[in-house]
């Protein structure tokens, strides 16, 4: 079996007396699309922030291609090839879509190549209609796509998406699911999401979080047919 692309070893995070994440061992293989699900407060967003370096763990380690990235700054983690899309679109509101994407593409391309990379992503995600408008003036769903394109412009080895379909219309969600499946042909992905209908359209393997730990891991059918998962989502107390 090949070495995991990213893995965590005994990852924990405490906020005062609250244990948000408890000794999590997680791994993702090359090429995989993994969905992280769980009810509110399950610890998936904290886990996401630990992976991306936004917060530092109380104990444990995060390894990317075998390199310990636990203590690295967010920009150092990004340079290793991890692209991040946050829950609330994190874009440059005062700049146009093309200007946004150019900043991302210019980090490892010269001017000409960066411009070409921008046009590729504009075409790929269908952003042409609003590519020269300030991103702050776009609809929420469009801003989500701009952020996704920002991530793709960096051509990362691993993409982490936090609730990519949040606040989208049904039509936009369908399109986003298509985009994610298309991205996964090239890039491994971790998607944090709690919208089960959206999960069904994209998921291959699912990791279920509950009370800061991994409750179960399995393919879509296993997870959705699990009584334990249903109990967690519908509020029945799970035996410790």
């Amino acid at each position: 079996m090949s070495a995991p692309l990213i893995e965590t070893r005994g990852l924990s995070k405490h906020f005062g007396g609250v244990q948000a994440v408890r000794t999590i061992d997680f791994s993702l293989a090359e090429g995989e699309l993994r969905c992280l699900i769980g009810p509110n407060g399950a610890g998936k967003s904290t886990f996401f922030k630990l992976l991306t370096g936004q917060i530092k763990p109380t104990s444990g380690a995060v390894l990317f291609r075998g390199i310990d990235i636990t203590a690295l700054q967010a920009h150092q983690i990004a340079r290793l090839g991890i692209g991040i899309k946050t829950q609330v679109p994190s874009v440059f509101n005062g700049l146009s879509t093309r200007q946004n994407l150019w900043i991302a593409a210019a980090r490892h391309n010269n001017r000409k190549e960066a411009t070409q990379a921008v046009e590729r992503q504009v075409e790929r995600l269908g952003l042409g209609r609003f590519a020269d408008k300030p991103v702050g003036q776009l609809a929420h769903g469009q801003r989500q796509w701009v952020e996704l394109a920002l991530v793709l412009c960096g051509n990362p080895d691993l993409i982490l998406l936090d609730e990519p379909a949040a606040g989208m219309t049904e039509e936009e969600r369908v399109r986003t699911a298509e985009i994610i499946r298309e991205i996964n042909r090239v890039h491994p992905l971790i998607v944090v999401e709690h919208d089960m209908s959206f999960i069904r359209t994209i998921a291959q393997r699912i990791t279920v979080f509950d009370r800061g730990t991994i409750l179960m891991e399995g393919d879509v059918d296993q997870v959705f047919s699990s009584q334990t998962v249903r109990d967690v989502y519908f509020g029945k107390q799970v035996a410790a």
Binding site: T52, A78, T86, G94, S96, W102, I103, A104, L150
Partner: protein, 347 residues
């Protein structure tokens, strides 16, 4: 297209107008007028230094006069000791840049919030003001240069032609130098802002976290921008002392820092031309009020700031480019449309 090359008519206009003023003003102005516009050009450079770090880097420096004053005192001390202005001018830029880099390192690498950056820079300039104010008496000197405390340092030598200490610049030469430097700084900053560094700096102003997620070290970019701003403020400080042959503690004052912020707010934060216009207009207004002795200049400046914050919150330059120019263009389009309809009717 962001990376494309196309003529920027705004920049061309500024360049042509700037050169015309540089050549034309000495012909039309008397000595007093020439000295005044030289001072406006110096303040224009100072305004550009703050415009760059605040308007484009998003770093609100409440105590920018610390770098201006340090440049001023560095020049005064160095030129008295060296006896020649070339090295003194370079030192007057270098020292503020180094101070800005050191201060920026602790502020940006500690990731303190914007408001604390403002407070720290304000405190720094107050410290400088009080320290230099307490240096009266012969005991306080650096080499041959007496610091002079609240009385300041008189008889500071003017700038001279590089490495020719006896060839000092007359008012006309000083005007041409300051005007040319204003244009050079303006175009250099414009050039810098279209590089990758400049664009990332603007992106940091918009969303620092996203810049980090894209793999850029936002702290380093802010540090470099802050140092450039410090060096330019130091240059303005040096020119200011060389212009007036005198420096005193008020160059570090909070009033000086507040004036710079008013220049930017009146001219337009996030532009380069606006702050220069703001600096010239407010300095001209201050001189006019000072000459007439009717009302207190600080009261008028406060009123100007209030009016702009309430009525023109984005400043003059954005209002002209975003409101006035589109309005003029729409008038022109309407006139063309009317002409075409009239011609169609005749046909």
């Amino acid at each position: 297209m962001i990376a494309g090359v196309r003529p920027n008519w705004g920049l061309v206009t500024v360049g042509v107008l700037g050169l015309a003023l540089l050549i034309g003003l000495p012909i039309f102005l008397d000595l007093f007028g020439l000295l005044q516009v030289t001072l406006y050009a110096i303040f224009g450079i100072l305004a550009l230094s703050l415009a760059f770090i605040w308007g484009y880097g998003g770093i609100l420096c409440f105590g920018h006069s610390a770098f201006f004053g340090l440049g001023a005192y560095t020049y005064a001390v160095a030129v008295i000791n060296i006896g020649e202005s070339t090295g003194a001018l370079l030192l007057a830029m270098l020292l503020p840049a180094v101070l800005a880099a050191a201060l920026g390192y602790f502020m940006f690498y500690a990731r303190i919030s914007d408001i604390y950056v403002g407070v720290i820079t304000l405190t720094l300039t107050l410290i400088f003001y009080n320290c230099i104010n307490s240096t009266a008496g012969p005991a306080y000197h650096i080499g041959d240069a007496l610091l002079g405390g609240f009385n300041g340092m008189p008889n500071v030598p003017s700038l001279n032609i590089p490495f020719l200490p006896d060839e000092t610049l007359e008012p006309l030469g000083m005007f041409l130098l300051c005007g040319a430097l204003l244009l050079i700084v303006y175009f250099a900053l414009h050039g810098l802002l279209v590089t990758r560094f400049g664009r990332v700096l603007v992106a940091i102003r918009e969303n620092e976290q996203r810049v980090e997620f894209l793999g850029y070290d936002a702290r380093l970019h802010k540090l470099v921008a802050f140092s450039i701003g410090g060096a330019l403020a130091g240059l303005a400080g040096c020119l200011y002392v060389a212009w007036g042959n005198y420096v005193s503690p008020p160059v570090f004052s909070v009033v000086q820092s507040a004036q710079m912020i008013i220049w930017l707010m009146v001219g337009g934060v996030g532009t380069l031309l606006g702050p220069v216009i703001g600096a010239v207009a407010i300095s001209w207004l201050t001189v006019k009020i000072g000459t007439q002795q009717v009302v207190n200049a600080s009261v008028v400046l406060g009123a100007v700031l209030l009016v702009f914050v309430l009525l023109v919150p984005r400043g003059v330059a954005p209002m002209v480019t975003e409101r006035f120019v589109p309005w003029l263009l729409s008038l022109r389009r309407a006139a063309v449309a009317r002409r075409e309809i009239a011609q169609g009717g005749k046909a």
